[in-house]
Symmetry: C2
Subunit: 306 residues, 2 copies
Amino acid sequence: MLTSLAICMLLNVCVGWGTNEDLIISILGRRNASQRKLIRQCYAETYGEDLLKALDKELSNDFERVVLLLALDPPERDAYLANEATKKWTASNRILVEIACTRSPKDMILAREAYHARFKKSLEEDVAYHTKGDFRKLLVPLVSSYRYSGDDVNLHLAKSEAKILREKITAKEYSCDDIIRILTTRSRAQINATLNQYKNEFGNDVNKDLKEDPKDEFLTLLRAAVKCLVYPEKYFEKVLRLAINKLGTDEGALTRVVATRAEVDMQTIKEIYEKRNSVPLDKAICKDTHGDYEKMLLTLIGHVEE
Amino acid sequence: MLTSLAICMLLNVCVGWGTNEDLIISILGRRNASQRKLIRQCYAETYGEDLLKALDKELSNDFERVVLLLALDPPERDAYLANEATKKWTASNRILVEIACTRSPKDMILAREAYHARFKKSLEEDVAYHTKGDFRKLLVPLVSSYRYSGDDVNLHLAKSEAKILREKITAKEYSCDDIIRILTTRSRAQINATLNQYKNEFGNDVNKDLKEDPKDEFLTLLRAAVKCLVYPEKYFEKVLRLAINKLGTDEGALTRVVATRAEVDMQTIKEIYEKRNSVPLDKAICKDTHGDYEKMLLTLIGHVEE
């Protein structure tokens, strides 16, 4: 019953694409992967074009972009966002770090598989080709690593590597082999243990010590990697905060975070957001966006209308 | 019928482990993965020890090592060999390059998964930790890459990257970012196209130009990577040739190549071996080995007794 009802709704959406936003919102807002797949098939059959191709066009509005991103499977969405980031890569672009450091190792492999299928190339190939120097040295191993995902921690190693980090940071050798090796290959649990040791031993959070020159784009990227690995929800809260507080709102960042985290850790991100900004995320979004785009974002973050 | 017969034989083998070599040879020689899995379970139940652990011990003879390697699944075997290579790593150790460059991208991911499961770490983590300088710069991306495995080739790119290779090799910048990037991230098909362009344009095989200093271990490793990527069977023929021709035979290399290639490309390797050495591989093995070890190798390479 439910399935045929869903299909009817989907057909309706596809036929009236662009004119039946409320229906799209109510379907995609429910975040059901198989329904999304249907939308995608429907889109291809109705428009003779793949959703991913449609995404590549200049989209007329933010609503369309969030709908298209949501209709993709998570690995395909990550592959798409990562590809977009390599093509538009600048030193201030944090999306590659965000994807490489917040997805689980398994999900990262799935995203790399989806990248092969879609772009007939590997993700690391494009990252290596489009970046240079220290940025390449950090980004290529970040997107290539397949970290161990268990909780096992070697405390002796954590101590010795905390010391290495301290030495290299004190000497301002931020892009040295050791810092890159530790951040790009160790498991999240191991990195967390190392950074705890760092704080115990040397007093500061490592990210505080990596703030020597706040305008240095490489240091900013290193800090983003650390934050994404250890406190992903705090990282996303900050991206949302900056996107919303920006004069004119950064819809690109807002759309990306909501579309990629809705089913993952949005609840925690919302809690951290409210604590940090003294206003609930849904209120902040209401203030900065409007129309169907606003409705879609609110549905996705689980806003309940009163 | 066949299955219960196999199980009976296996039980017999396990109970009489070490005293029933002919049976072991006839079973493992048949190269059936599910039978091998049974041997492994049997071994664990009978000896209270996992085969992988047994491999770590000082093995009393070459026969045992080939049996133990064969009883592992290919991804687990690769993980085991790679781990052994990182622990015993020296500049002349080519095993990491061999594994990273001759396995399919999918198989390499499976080996990395098996590495997690067995060693509670990632392969790239151990490689980065145990290597240094130029060797690390080459080996970490080699074992981390998940290359595109399709046949699509960009000829324009092949031309431009052949030119880059030529410039860097002429300037003797063998460990520069570009050479490493091209060899570690491009697909096999793309690398092959680039090396063809290199030969067309500049007259030599790239490996000939990488022979500036035949004693330079880094150059030797680069050449091994190129050969493994483009002509894996020729690479393995040479490893076998050197192992057999060596004063005293290099059983480690002989065992490894036979155990890992038996089900993959041994037929082609044998043909190349005979052409290059004017003697069939089985004859060469007969001359250099004896007893159960000899029988096992011959069974594995598909020697038919007359």
